[in-house]
Amino acid sequence: MNRKRNTVRNIFLGISSILMILTLYMIFLYVPVEKEMGIVQKIFYLMVPMGWLALLSFLIVFIGSILYLINKDSKWDVLAHSSASIGILFTALALLIGAIWAKPVWGVWWTWEARLTATLVLFMLYVAYFMVRSFTADEARGATFAAVIGIVGFIDIPIIALATTLWRGMHPGGIIFAGGLAPSMLLTLITSLIAFTFFYSLLLMQQISLKNNENRLKKLQQYLN
């Protein structure tokens, strides 16, 4: 059983490594430099996957949370919790990369651009998810409360996105996709997205097995007391 899991993980490790190298090659050697923004535009191939993983992680948190509330099986909480701990990292990176992008493009490190604002709120939702867990004395109740945040937060994301977009008076896709994307750029972006998605799956598997081991240790400890 364990060996089988390890094999799967090694396969994912292999695939993500190859795809990551391929992505780097495509970003720096294959895809041409954009005319108006110059070399800075290459950040884009990293920024979009980060935003995607921030959302994908929360989707997994959402699914895990629903299943946990329905049947209280702690394996679903492990899934949601693991995905959240990876998600908060990618959301932070998305904000950081967003700031690096904002500086040359808009001249400031931070701007209340709709997508950046929504990402910031998403980050705060992740913080709430971890906060409520660590502030609840009883572990099982903490997991339940976190699941509630996971569900409410995810349902809230489209409303937040809509509100921030209307708030800035913008329409989605405005800046990045203005004038469309050249085929080579699109190909690079898609490769990068696939590479990072594999990387996410690998991290998720790793995190889940870590959490499972932690829980097994806790059970042993309880048994020994």
Partner: protein, 245 residues
């Protein structure tokens, strides 16, 4: 009432394979228990044995992780609201709002339980517990003993048939405990089934027909009171507590 009893078995409480876990922590591991209607059962056990968890599950405050429970012949998962009408609970907390008067508290609970003829019933139960005056004082200003009496009045209000007492003596003083047992006898044209948890062996022994010892989430001892005396119980209790700790 007679038809209710004949339609179901004579068991007031039927528990099969009940387990409850809180995340990685297991509180009850496979409880099987049947209690005859009209019996009074004392459950002994040290702290953390799972007594409160068991009471809370029977009171429908907690949901079981697995297992089947029937109270008065009704399934606890399916007929939850009916069962709540059947069951009365007293714990070490009074369940009373300290900013409301005694009367307002009882009025609130009788609305929640759809008690018919609210006013009359409230005065009736207040008379049973002996607080005709001061019913329009805020509960928070009353003495602990009086609050406990009002809490007993709250229990009696809905005429429950199955009474769950979770360590009543930690919440109720000696007088109030005596009052509670008296009140249950006074109202008892019909028989109450009483389940109460305690770690006071002598007190529990006095008031029960049957004794259980719960340790580490399992029933390790189950005897009729008539078959033994207090010293036997004390010995058995110490034996099981030592074995399991």
């Amino acid at each position: 009432m007679a038809s209710r009893e004949s339609s179901s078995s004579n068991w007031a409480v039927e528990i099969q394979g009940l387990t409850k876990s809180f995340g990685p922590r297991t509180a009850l591991r496979g409880i099987d228990l049947r209690i005859t209607a009209g019996n009074s059962v004392a459950i002994f056990g040290p702290n953390g044995a799972g007594k409160t968890t068991l009471i809370k599950i029977l009171a429908t405050i907690l949901k079981p992780s697995s297992g089947k429970i029937r109270l008065g012949g009704r399934d606890i998962q399916k007929n939850t609201e009916e069962i709540r009408r059947l069951v009365g609970v007293i714990t070490h907390q009074t369940f009373l709002y300290s900013n409301l008067t005694a009367y307002e508290n009882l009025d609130f609970y009788s609305r929640m339980f759809d008690v018919p003829h609210r006013r009359e019933r409230i005065h009736e139960v207040l008379n049973i517990v002996g607080i005709p005056s001061r019913i329009h004082d805020r509960v928070g200003t009353l003495s602990r003993g009086t609050q406990q009496r009002i809490s007993i009045a709250r229990l009696l209000l809905s005429k429950p048939r199955i009474i769950l007492l979770d360590e009543p003596e930690t919440g109720l003083d000696q007088q109030a405990t005596a009052l509670l047992w008296n009140a249950l006898r006074l109202e008892g044209e019909e028989q109450y089934t009483i389940i109460h948890t305690t770690h006071n062996l002598a007190r529990g022994f006095e008031t029960c027909d049957r004794m259980l010892i719960l340790a580490r989430g399992e029933i390790v001892f189950d005897r009729e009171r008539s078959s033994m005396d207090l010293t036997d119980l004390t010995q058995a209790y110490q034996h099981f507590i030592e074995v399991t700790s």
